[in-house]
Symmetry: D2
Subunit: 304 residues, 4 copies
């Protein structure tokens, strides 16, 4: 497959589309981004790299980072975390608090905010220096020690993070947060404030393309079963309230962030990252979804 | 009316009842109380004082304190606070978070926890030294400067107050908490940690018996309309999820606390406070309700 | 008290108010009414009758009828019905279905639609000819056999009553409706379609003024305790999501209907009915509430 | 791939498992089935048929039938139905009524009961003789005119279908049911009462394996895009509250029914149906899921 040609064609197609969607503005730091920024990067299993646009420019990966914190937790914990967080789609966008109330503080899955907070709480109990250790973990998978936190974004998230604080407190009331809430939130806001380029993101996602093996070191970080679990969770829970739509249009496991990034994989074939900050009403990158839809259409390979 | 005789008869009746209900135990400090403690005090409008049992012993008045913080807020604000908190019963006990979610951070009334938090937030904006000023306010109405906070209870409330913290954060996310959450919670937990005896409580509630006038100073602290509003709110919202049952059995405006206290008034006739720490399943003092039911039955005077 | 003079003054005051609020239009039959119709009738315990406006004109009493069906059920059942329906305010207007779902098919109180449906179900099990028997019951209390159903309204209610049908079915799924749903709904829609004048309504409500005794026959239809229960329920649950506001402004037990009627009582003193079809946003008669507020202000007698 | 050998191995493995789970008993007709019945049938794209156990015995396919009614609706309507029903997972099992209430009568997807009711409503508007036409439609895809309704099951469903009636009425109140509710429910209860054998079910599901083409007639019943949509919906919504778990363990689009059947497909490779009436706590066939898990493990081919 000539991935570069496919990406070039896609770039040409999406370049002619009128701009649609708005940049996330719930924190000032995110609103500063150029709304028309665009880049994509694809890594295939043969070691090929293919890119278009600003694929080397770093952006705030936001919720995509939850895949990495979950990966770290699974690699440390094995199965026990599934008693504290589910593996099913969350369904209703309006009811994060309501769902927690009725399901007694157990979040539906680890890719929604409440679930990611539980994962942070778990990591705090396992890591000596959680923020530093988490960063090193990503750097290791990516094989790239330039990846870092954007501390302004982390601070901004904290300043506007009252809904996350509400959820953490409610889960604490139900006994599903074990550590100090300030520490849990601090780790969470930093995890969301990781910056990576499309290249770095795609390279890191090769871990999932290779079923849990870090390709450049050969380390089997996750068991095959753990890797399958991660892919299944991304498939059903990775796109806020648009998992069904994404399955239909794209049909790949992946995760999006409100910074406009989407990372996805075709197991055994490639990983891909796209970045375009304008979001559709469901909070997913408008062009990002379009690019991935064209990719699976043009390559003729989705999971369906 | 020979209130002392009525109280004595009531005491005799309830003394023979088998103990029923459990002491509140959600914080260790409250669980330490003697479950069989009992006292009551009635003040009539002629200045008469009538008491039975441990009427001079201080206990944690808990949510009864919300009536005083609301009184202070109303006396400072007049009507503006009703844009930030409603005046209707909250109905469902299970859904404090859910109600806040759907009503966009506006609590149903100022006597539920969420509403009392909004009142605390308001007071922080109005008072120079909120905790000290609040205490002085109660001492002034009561004409008794021995009333004080129990700081162990306040600390204990804070340690176990994650659900309150969750609500404060959610309301902050909706823009209905204006000040720093830690300050709001700190004031709230102190307000709930006021200690008073039945005598002090009954004397303070004379304010509502006298339609907003502090009887021992003659100060008209609330307008007649404000006093009516307060009585109406106590009547419909003062007993958690048992307002209807209390209206039926007792038929007086009042407020209960999980410390086992209940204060109530017969407008223009008397105020009364009862204390017995064993609670019924709805969180109201088991004997407290019984005493008040007997009081209105024996005096033949309820509002119905 | 010169009630006629009071009513005349009130009429003069409200006549000068600009029209406010809209007539209920969820069924075409109700929308046909003259929006500016107005009447009131007061019966005192001495047998006095005082009236203003179109006090003899019949209108659709709608939910006010739920007080009578509850009265009939209580007089037949005594306490057992309280296992199937609560006595507490419903709180949230948006959540009739949600509340039923979470409280397993047990309505909060008998004056909301779900609760009135349970009462209908109960009556079907107790009465030989429920619709006829119910009508005769009202006629007996009122001492007036011209009271009747408006069959067009009943048919119209049925045609648009899918939400009521949804609640009946959900309660049936929870086992709290015992009879055929069609029969329950048919009785319910007829009960809501009773037509009475202000005079007839006020006269019927004397039953509650006299603590359960039918004044013109002397029959003690309800025990004192049952009558107190009914008054308490009206006080806390009689005005949709405006029980607290009504308590504050009016301070009398009562019940309103979307036909624009409100009936209320001052126990031991009088009963009163007002009719004005324009409703406020909470579904209560705009002028009706105003009239009753002026009545308790001018007579200086509310329960607070 | 020697599918017969794979199935034989699976049969041997599951035969040694202790019986687990209970037969659906919400209607008496379903409770009559032999809990230990077991069968499976696989059709590959080359026309091969492979079977184990009671693969020719008919059972109640229940909710699996919703895939066919959706297929018929899509083939008639194209896109318009997506305005009346969503394509996203429903998430919370407890809140079918709540979700409908908040999302104003629009069900989350067409494979939950509420969504299937909307599809029935749509079909009633499109078909001359809905029940007969629906049956003929299935017979045509299956190439088998012995498929039929079990009228006892349909009658039993109706007798116990109050929750479905509640949802239909609520959606009617929101304007999302256009036809008579009795007709909609009647069609719905019949659709759930279709009986098929594993062989018939697998053969019918070849339609989805072949991306919308009926293999034995060559008719392209659905466009490729429509077929992809159907597969995506099955993938994300086909297993009640276990879509994530099924994705992880099996990784194939499919649909289960409380009769103990599961049908699934590997696009372009095979269709498979399993039947074993004992259900896990989420309502999916215990052995059915086990068989499909072993199938994708042994063939080494899931979508992940």
């Amino acid at each position: 497959m000539n991935y570069q040609q496919v990406l070039d064609e896609i770039w040409q197609e999406v370049a002619s589309l009128p701009p649609e969607g708005e940049v996330a503005s719930y924190i000032p730091e995110l609103a500063k981004v150029n709304p028309n920024a665009f880049g994509a990067h694809l890594c295939d299993v043969s070691g090929g790299h293919y890119a278009i646009g600003e694929s080397e420019k770093k952006f705030s990966i936001q919720s995509i980072s939850k895949v990495f914190s979950l990966t770290l937790a699974i690699s440390l914990a094995g199965d026990p975390i599934w008693k504290r967080v589910g593996v099913e789609p969350s369904g209703d966008p309006f009811n994060s608090m309501i769902q927690l109330e009725f399901e007694q503080g157990i979040p539906r899955n680890p890719l929604i905010n409440a679930g990611a907070l539980v994962i942070c709480d778990y990591l705090i109990g396992q890591l000596k220096d959680p923020k530093a250790d988490y960063l090193r973990f990503i750097q290791k998978i990516a094989g790239d020690d330039t990846i870092s936190y954007n501390y302004s974004v982390a601070a901004s998230e904290k300043q506007w993070g009252h809904r996350n604080a509400a959820m953490a407190n409610l889960m604490k009331a139900f006994g599903n947060i074990h550590h100090d809430i300030e520490k849990v939130l601090d780790l969470y806001f930093h995890i969301c404030a990781i910056e990576m380029s499309c290249r770095q993101l795609a390279k890191t996602f090769l871990l999932y393309t290779f079923h849990g093996k870090v390709p450049h070191t050969g380390e089997q970080l996750l068991t095959l079963s753990q890797a399958k679990r991660l892919n299944a969770i991304m498939q059903t829970c990775g796109f806020y309230d648009e998992a069904g739509e994404f399955s239909f249009r794209v049909g790949l496991p992946g995760k999006s962030g409100v910074g406009g990034g989407i990372a996805a994989i075709h197991p055994g074939e490639y990983s891909v990252a796209v970045w375009s900050p304008r979001l559709n009403p469901k909070g997913n990158s408008f062009l990002g979804m379009k690019v991935l839809e064209l990719l699976t259409t043009k390559t003729g390979r989705s999971i369906f």
